[in-house]
Amino acid sequence: MRSRNGNCNLLLRLLSIVFLSSLSLSASEFLISYQYTVKNAVLYNETLEISRAMKKCSGVSQKELFLQNTTDNNLKKIISQNSEEFIDYIHKLGLHVKHEGTTTNLQNSSITTLTLKTTCFEVDFNDSFVKIAPLKEGVN
């Protein structure tokens, strides 16, 4: 037969465990890829893919981005609301550039493709903002 004080301690322990686990669950990981093609100086096929990671990502978080969070914890909505800022951030992170130009009988045509390969991002949801940081392996 436990005393009332003992039961209170057990309840506090359980609540703290639940609270800490909820804090750890709020930091989630997302896989993001981005690509667009420019053909003859005109933009085509801009795609931004966002999906939740199905397994734990490894690596160290790199340069982070803070976005304003006015909605619930939906990353797609947050990024669509701050798309310009997020795309500038992706450009800063680094894009793979592939360019092919052809000149046939003095007529030019070119295709340039910029790609962010599928990268795992660590996303921390908070009340008013979201912290997004890419995870990179082998870098301190």
Partner: protein, 205 residues
């Protein structure tokens, strides 16, 4: 007694005559011997001359061999000096490049151009799409400046006439930390000036 004396005198006279003949023969023999000696000495002299000539030739060949060996040694020395100088120059160039790369930052600036598509809903969309295309063009320019361009040319000539001339250019690179300096949008053409800073630490990771 007189007879004995006479005999003695005869003997002496006979001995004298005999001595003359003997002396003549001896002198002949001596002359022949001297002739033989002179011939032998001449032969020796010839032999000596021949030996001297051969020794001279040998000396000359030895001298020529020595000269050839000296010249080859000098050539090898000169080659080694040239190689050393070339190596020193290459090392000095490497050290200069490394020194420049470590001490200086390189600023690369390009201007990219993009055009808005025809079927846009609003001028804002046209501007956004043209800007994105201009950014891609600027990234291409940065990649070409930093990494270089692969160029392939093909000309088709038939009956001494140019049928088709094709030039293909291409580049693949990873570009990060590029900054937009200025953006202008005039008459459907968007121009974006971009800049990137390259330092030694970017490539030493």
């Amino acid at each position: 007694m007189k007879l004995s004396m006479f005999f003695v005198a005869l003997l002496s006279v006979s001995s004298l005559f005999g001595a003359d003949t003997v002396n003549e023969e001896a002198s002949k023999a001596k002359i022949e011997a001297s002739v033989a000696r002179t011939e032998a000495s001449a032969a020796r002299i010839e032999a000596l001359n021949a030996k001297a000539e051969t020794s001279v030739i040998r000396n000359e060949t030895k001298e020529s061999k020595a000269i050839v060996s000296k010249t080859t040694a000098e050539l090898e020395k000169a080659n080694s000096i040239i190689e050393r100088n070339a190596l020193e120059k290459a090392q000095s160039k490497d050290s200069e490049e490394a020194f420049l790369a470590k001490s200086k930052k390189v600023y690369i600036s390009v201007v990219g151009q993009g055009v808005a598509p025809m079927n846009t809903v609003s001028p804002a969309q046209a501007y956004a799409l043209a800007k994105r295309a201009a950014i891609a063009d600027a990234y291409r320019g940065l990649a070409e400046k930093i990494k270089g361009v692969r160029v392939e040319g093909h000309d088709l000539i038939k009956n001494m006439m140019m049928q088709r001339s094709t030039i293909r250019t291409g580049v693949e690179a990873m570009v990060k930390n590029a900054n937009i300096v200025e953006t202008t949008f005039k008459e459907g053409l968007c121009e974006v000036e971009m800049e990137i800073v390259i330092s030694y630490s970017d490539f030493s990771q």
